[in-house]
């Protein structure tokens, strides 16, 4: 999968590049066609796919390039989501968030919300990552899962921001020159971030950090023997990964105009893992393909049966047992 990722970008128009372009254009075409057909609901679905893909791009940095199976990324998704929700609700009510030692108020300006959401998620990833990376393998999976659950129960039992019931924000936060309540315009923001994150992820994969990170996945002993601490590299990637997922969380709050502990639940962590794997782990556009498929399945199967997750489970099982490599593996070949 990955010898290609660190090499200089291919000069020829590779099969993977064509699949990537088709996916980008396809995701862009859905809302445009939906608006033309007078089906704004499909715009919302496409926006959801773009935001989940963004969260997946974040997870893929840790999972795909670093080999870190994090079952707690919902914590970062939720941290970003709650940062956005709390800031926006205070921004609307005018009540300050804290009054001591200095007064900090809320805001409904996305340009102010995003940095806070990213910083909150990054800080969370730094703490959780530093503790979890003391271990490896199956321990790491269980511990990230447990820390995700800790964040979940904290928000459930913390009454200030709605506790179990969640926190409505009623209207989307503002962005200069954009009507964020218009579905297509909000989609454009989410899509823009997704493209930016993909570009960033591509740069990182080919960078010094990317080289060290992919080496850490393959052989930690060797990485240490050439003078690079595997834990530092993995922690750096984990923080970047959490930050991107947190940004997606902030957008998700604005999409739904609501944030609740469900964003932090272990199912959310599982779904993020599933969409990255379904798409193709360690492939740049894997999360995009996975998120589009996931949303399509949820919508189509959900229309057929209330128990659609049963079929999702059966499909996932088949993919894991018999069709490794995910969608990108099937479309663009095992080595891209």
């Amino acid at each position: 999968m990955t010898a290609a990722a660190v090499q200089a970008p291919a000069r020829r128009w590779s099969r993977e590049a064509r699949v990537n372009t088709a996916l980008s254009l396809g995701l862009l075409a859905v809302p445009l066609l939906a608006m033309a057909a007078g089906e704004p609901f499909w715009v919302t679905l496409a926006t959801r796919a773009a935001i989940l893909a963004l969260a997946g791009v974040g997870l893929n940095l840790a999972l795909g390039y670093g080999g870190l199976v994090s079952f707690g990324h919902a914590a970062f998704f939720g941290l970003g989501g709650y940062a956005a929700g709390v800031l926006a609700s205070h921004g609307m009510s005018g009540r300050p968030i804290v009054t001591w030692p200095l007064e900090i108020g809320g805001t409904t300006q996305m340009l102010a919300i995003w940095p806070v959401a990213v910083a909150a998620a990054a800080l969370g990833a730094l703490v959780i990552g530093a503790l979890s990376l003391r271990t490896t393998g199956v321990f790491f999976i269980m511990i990230t899962l447990a820390f995700g659950q800790m964040a979940f129960y904290f928000m459930v039992s913390w009454p200030a921001y709605g506790g179990e019931d969640g926190l409505p924000t009623y209207v989307r936060s503002r962005f200069p020159g954009v009507n964020t309540m218009a579905p297509l315009q909000f989609f454009a923001i989410a899509y823009g971030w997704l493209m930016l994150a993909l570009w960033l992820s591509w740069r990182i994969a080919g960078s010094r950090l990317g080289l060290a990170l992919q080496a850490a996945r393959q052989n930690r002993q060797r990485l240490a023997a050439v003078g690079i601490r595997p834990k530092s590299v993995l922690l750096g990637a984990f923080v970047l990964s959490g930050a991107l997922t947190g940004l997606a969380g902030a957008l998700y709050t604005d999409l739904n105009r609501f944030v609740s502990p469900a964003m932090l639940s272990w199912q959310t962590s599982g779904e993020l893992l599933v969409l990255v794997i379904l798409g193709g782990v360690g492939r740049l556009f894997g999360p995009v393909a996975g998120a589009m498929l996931f949303i399509a399945l949820e919508h189509l199967l959900g229309g057929i049966s209330d128990y659609w997750q049963f079929f999702l489970g059966a499909m996932l099982l088949m993919v894991v047992l018999f069709a490794r490599g995910g969608i990108m593996g099937a479309l663009a070949g095992r080595d891209g």
């Binding site: 503790l131 899962l145 447990a146 099982l317």
Partner: protein, 306 residues
């Protein structure tokens, strides 16, 4: 807070811990022997609870329900092992996580389809429906006391099974060296199925017993599963002793934290704020315990140093 209330909460914590031990023992055996991380262990807990509730409702006998719980969970475990799990032993942990996550989705939705989304309730069997007065004048429900007894009995049987019997020797040998034990003529495939079904039966037992105290519903297994992971992380993977100690630590920390922390904060701040801070902190207490153990001993209390 009175001493009597505190002792009652300690008993509750021990009871909760021992039920966690039933879950954690199966998980840690399966991981220790087969190297498999099984997220669907919580589903087997749920299967046990539903089997108990359905049979108890149909026959009117809790005891038949309990037998059905053990049988159904063991059968479901054996079936899943033969159809899916054994294809995963040689896969990496990511594949194991995904495949068993898929099993959770299938078990949960299948159960929802069969039983609906509303919780079922189990009646405590008549012989254990009363309360006993313990020395010191503590009045404690008989059924909860019975749960403590069952937990301790299972722990004793497991220690004996692993430490003193032929199958225990095989389990420990399988843990040490898969090829070696296979070369010695033990049917490793059957051994694995048996171990997996044993773990499943323990999970089913826990599900039926806890389901009687609480309620039986879809999704009941996963929160317990994650707590069992915390237990294993604290105790050390593969160690039954570690699972027992970790379970009791987690059970006591969680139960006592919920009672004591809000009261402790109430000494320093006004009641509603104290309750908020206290309960939020209490919900995090076992994870803080886990983090502390990790910093101190990354391999868990009884694990090999990681």
């Amino acid at each position: 807070m009175s001493l009597l209330l505190l002792i009652e909460q300690v008993l509750n914590g021990v009871q909760f811990g021992l039920m966690l031990f039933l879950m954690a023992a199966g998980l840690t055996l399966v991981f220790g022997v087969m190297g498999l991380i099984n997220l669907a262990h919580g589903s087997l807990y749920m299967v046990g609870a539903f089997a108990c509730a359905a049979v108890a409702a149909a026959t009117g006998s809790f005891w038949l329900g309990l037998a059905a719980a053990l049988g159904a969970a063991a059968a479901a475990g054996a079936l899943v092992e033969v159809v899916v799990i054994r294809r995963l032993y040689n896969r990496d942990h990511l594949d194991q996580v995904l495949a068993t996550f898929a099993l959770i989705l299938m078990f949960s939705e299948g159960t929802r389809w069969a039983f609906g989304s509303f919780p079922l309730y189990l009646d405590v069997p008549a012989v254990l429906a009363g309360s006993v007065t313990l020395p010191g004048g503590i009045v404690y429900p008989e059924f909860r006391l019975a749960l403590i007894g069952v937990g301790l009995a299972v722990a004793a049987v497991l220690f004996w099974l692993i430490g003193r019997t032929r199958i225990g020797v095989r389990i420990r040998a399988g843990e040490a060296d898969r090829e070696m034990i296979a070369a010695l003529g033990v049917d490793i495939g059957r051994l694995y199925t048996v171990v997996f079904a044993l773990g499943a039966a323990l999970a089913g037992l826990a599900g039926a017993l806890v389901g009687t105290v609480q309620s039986v519903q879809v999704g009941m297994g996963e929160p317990v599963l994650i707590l069992a992971f915390v237990v294993i992380v604290i105790g050390g993977i593969g160690s039954i002793r570690g699972a027992l100690l970790g379970s009791l630590l987690v059970g006591l920390t969680d139960t006592l934290g919920r009672v004591l922390l809000p009261q402790a904060f109430a000494l320093a701040m006004e009641a509603s704020a104290a309750n908020a801070v206290g309960s939020a902190l209490a919900s995090m207490s076992i994870y803080i315990l886990m983090a502390a153990v990790l910093v101190w001993r990354p391999g868990g209390l009884f694990g090999a140093p990681a």
